[in-house]
């Protein structure tokens, strides 16, 4: 079953909107289940989804702990010298933040089922300027490259004799923090080189672009979009009213 990339974009936007709107763990959990069912519907192997989620596990844990500690309120579950450390509201907030991120990343996996060229075409046909659509394509294409570069850095660090498994947490965080700037700056340098290469190859040399192919909505696309837009509208209305 082939869906138009615009249909997938609509589904992603709808689910992401709901994930931002809801702020309690229950509905967010249901949204996560719905996202997973959607991925299964699109025949995406759950192991592939897990592969995208796994690198974020430490971030989820960190965010959860920060939210639990810094969002006090409700029933006090654990206190240290009368200072509430874990509260009912803190746990709710921590779970909500993690579930929200899980929903957004899970549903974004849907984009991997469409080629980047089709996504650009879809965005352009949605009247989004080509430059913006192309930026989206470049970001998607460079995401795996960026991930590979991070993996290379981690390998290179270890091959200089630093055992990341055995470095204490405090030092590990300091190490990652010190590595973050060069890695991000390196990515910016590459972006600059890419823009120069694009200019050299005549990017935006002519104001009008033509396309060999046009995407066509099928009836199933209309049905799917209608379902998502109507469902999201009802849920948003129920949440806001």
């Amino acid at each position: 079953m082939q869906f138009d990339p615009r249909t997938k974009l609509v589904a992603i936007i709808c689910i992401t909107t709901l994930a931002v709107l809801y702020n309690t763990p229950g509905p967010l959990f249901l949204l996560l289940i719905a996202s997973m069912i959607l991925l299964l519907f699109f025949r995406i192997d759950p192991r592939r989804t897990w592969g995208y989620l796994r690198p974020f596990l430490y971030l989820f844990l960190l965010l959860f702990v920060i939210q639990v500690i810094f969002s006090p309120g409700g029933e006090v579950l654990l206190a240290v010298r009368q200072v509430p450390l874990i509260t009912g509201r803190g746990l709710d907030m921590g779970a909500s933040v993690v579930l929200r991120l899980l929903v957004v990343i899970t549903v974004a996996v849907l984009l991997t089922t469409a080629s980047s060229r089709d996504i650009v075409l879809g965005l352009v046909q949605l009247r989004i300027p080509y430059e913006v659509a192309f930026m989206v394509e470049v970001a998607m294409r460079f995401l795996p490259v960026f991930r590979e570069e991070l993996a290379n850095v981690v390998t290179a660090v270890q091959l200089r004799g630093v055992d990341l498994q055995r470095v204490p947490w405090g030092q590990k965080m300091a190490l990652y923090r010190s590595l973050l700037f060069p890695v991000v700056y390196g990515a910016l340098l590459k972006a600059q080189q890419l823009s120069e290469a694009m200019d050299a190859r005549g990017f935006r040399a002519y104001p009008r672009r033509t396309y060999l192919r046009r995407l066509q909505f099928q009836s199933l696309d209309y049905a799917m979009m209608l379902l998502f837009l109507a469902g999201t509208s009802v849920l948003v209305w129920r949440q806001l009213v």
């Binding site: 570069e149 850095v153 390998t155 270890q158 091959l159 200089r160 004799g161 590595l179 060069p182 390196g186």
Partner: protein, 230 residues
């Protein structure tokens, strides 16, 4: 007992039917300079990544100091084997050139003055001192290459593997590198270089291994004057 031994090693990248390397039997001691040569795509880089534990073989076994390489962490391998990547940008991750050279030393517990001294030596030797506070990725290709080599050599590992170490180096700096490699080998350390630079290989290598289609096609000892075709 060889320092590093490869027994019937084979490896294929995921999703590829053809093996990148197969049937590799090699042994390296802690002396001499070995060059691995061969055309593009012959499996040279894959072989070095297997030797450093970055990739795990699908078949066969790699032994480091008579223990399977799988039982070592990357950091433990890194303390024994220094590896210069083919693309130096892949192994430069610090905010300045000086930090890059001192990184491994600092994290292996060296004191600040010892790190400064050792860093200063390598900055001077590889003529990187004027750039000590520069962001490494702002350097030219040749300077990045020199920095990657200096950062690995600073840890003084017992064994060195360098993938295309002369790429981007001018004749003078190739000579400097050759001198240094001879010095390193003379100190009882093993060196493996992967190179297309036949002049450099002829000048520095004691042993030349020819790789083709992922298999060893020949092995030649230059200094010992023995010749083996596999």
């Amino acid at each position: 007992m060889a320092f590093l031994a490869l027994n019937e090693v084979a490896f294929a990248y995921r999703g590829q039917q053809k093996r990148a390397v197969a049937g590799i039997d090699l042994a390296f001691d802690l002396d001499g300079i070995t060059a691995i040569v061969g055309p593009n795509g012959s499996g040279k880089t894959t072989l070095t990544k297997l030797m450093t534990g970055i990739l795990q073989p699908d078949a066969g076994e790699i032994l480091l100091e008579n223990r399977t390489l799988r039982s070592y962490s990357l950091a433990e391998i890194g303390r024994r084997i220094g590896y210069v990547f083919q693309n130096p940008e892949q192994q430069l991750f610090c905010a300045t050139v000086a930090e890059e050279i001192g990184f491994g030393l600092r994290h292996q517990g060296w004191g600040p003055s010892a790190v400064r001294e050792r860093t200063g030596f390598y900055l001077d030797y590889f003529e990187l001192a004027p750039y000590s506070n520069i962001f490494p990725l702002h350097l030219s290709r040749g300077e990045k290459q020199r920095l990657a080599i200096a950062a690995v050599l600073a840890g003084e590992p017992g064994f060195l593997i360098m993938d295309e170490p002369t790429a981007g180096l001018d004749a003078y700096r190739k000579r400097l590198l050759a001198d240094y490699l001879h010095k390193v080998a003379g100190l009882g350390r093993g060196v493996v270089i992967v190179s297309h630079d036949t002049g450099f290989v002829q000048r520095v290598a004691d042993r030349i291994i020819n790789l083709e289609n992922g298999r060893i096609r020949g092995e030649r000892w230059q200094r010992g004057d023995s010749l083996d075709a596999v």
